[in-house]
Symmetry: C2
Subunit: 195 residues, 2 copies
């Protein structure tokens, strides 16, 4: 059936959705409330039009500035540097960080053609040079690319009057040593803290 | 952010999609091709309008009759009785069944208020009484409700000039005895075949 088949095909291009899940979702949509289908369809079709990148920090924004930059109650002396806009949302929703963000738009990855110039590193430098931040927390991913980028940022900010830190890497809380991968284990040993 | 939050909320109502997957899909949609978002959104919003139930067999249909009832190359002497429209699609796509379908719209489940009258059982009886079918294959789910429904149909068709069969239940192919649940194992022992 063409309508179902093409819906399934479109759905299975979503991340984490295989053919079976796509069929299941399609059947669910057929038997779901018509108003729900209409609202979901509209939300999907319109999302790109409603969201842009914050001109100051690069996070997702609905208004001129993003919700972080426009929130004066956030600590204006703390800056957290992340790779992607969604990382800012994840960190903000942890509830433990109340400062501002800077979104790089990726990580340095020469193998895939992403050099420092493709990221918002010069904007980051300019923001830090304004001298309003006391601390820059580098929250790039604990991957090779994220580490390279963190190193690059540390070098770039050297000599500026700002504390530079990096998110701790190690064993996930609630995890089991037995199931930790080698790299995580190595990182948690190298980065062991006095106790 | 309201646009993202409401999209995530709508997405997480889909089957098999939790909060994390919903967020991941939402971020994917933000960075995806705009034309893809528009087409997916439209396909979702329109699916209910494009699909109805076949007046003859109850399967999903885009035209007057479903693709099964309108396909004269299918074996008109074989009828497969299923609970849901998607079951017909699943069985047809196995490639091993080339007959027609009858969709009950559920299974007898008195605890949840589904009696025989809520299903298309009288239509099934009428179709079989027309005398065109040589065999009726009952393909209700191998659950208590599916079994009850199968039993009901067997009684209802008793005395009519038609062979009644039921899908075999037992160990799934490629499965491991050790991981088989008790009920499946019991069913496969009770239903053992000479070898």
């Amino acid at each position: 059936m063409e309508a179902i088949d093409s819906l399934v095909k479109l759905l299975s291009r979503l991340p984490g959705i295989g053919g079976k899940s796509a069929s299941r979702i399609a059947y669910h949509l057929i038997s779901a409330d018509e108003d729900y289908d209409r609202r979901l369809g509209q939300a999907i079709a319109e999302i790109k039009g409603r969201i842009h990148f914050c001109p100051r920090c690069g996070a997702y924004a609905e208004d001129d500035l993003c919700e972080f930059c426009s929130d004066t109650r956030r600590d204006q002396s703390l800056l957290c540097v992340v790779e992607q806009p969604q990382d800012a949302i994840t960190i903000a929703s942890s509830g433990i960080y109340g400062g501002l963000f800077h979104v790089l738009g990726g990580a340095i990855d020469p193998m895939n053609g992403t050099g420092p110039d493709q990221l918002t590193l010069s904007q980051l430098k300019r923001r830090v040079q304004e001298g309003l931040f006391k601390e820059v927390i580098i929250a790039t991913n604990p991957t090779e690319e994220g580490d390279t980028t963190a190193l690059y940022i540390r070098q770039m900010l050297k000599g500026m009057d700002v504390t530079v830190s990096r998110l701790a890497a190690g064993l996930p809380i609630g995890g089991d040593l037995e199931y930790a991968d080698r790299l995580t284990l190595a990182r948690s040993i190298r980065g062991r803290v006095s106790y």
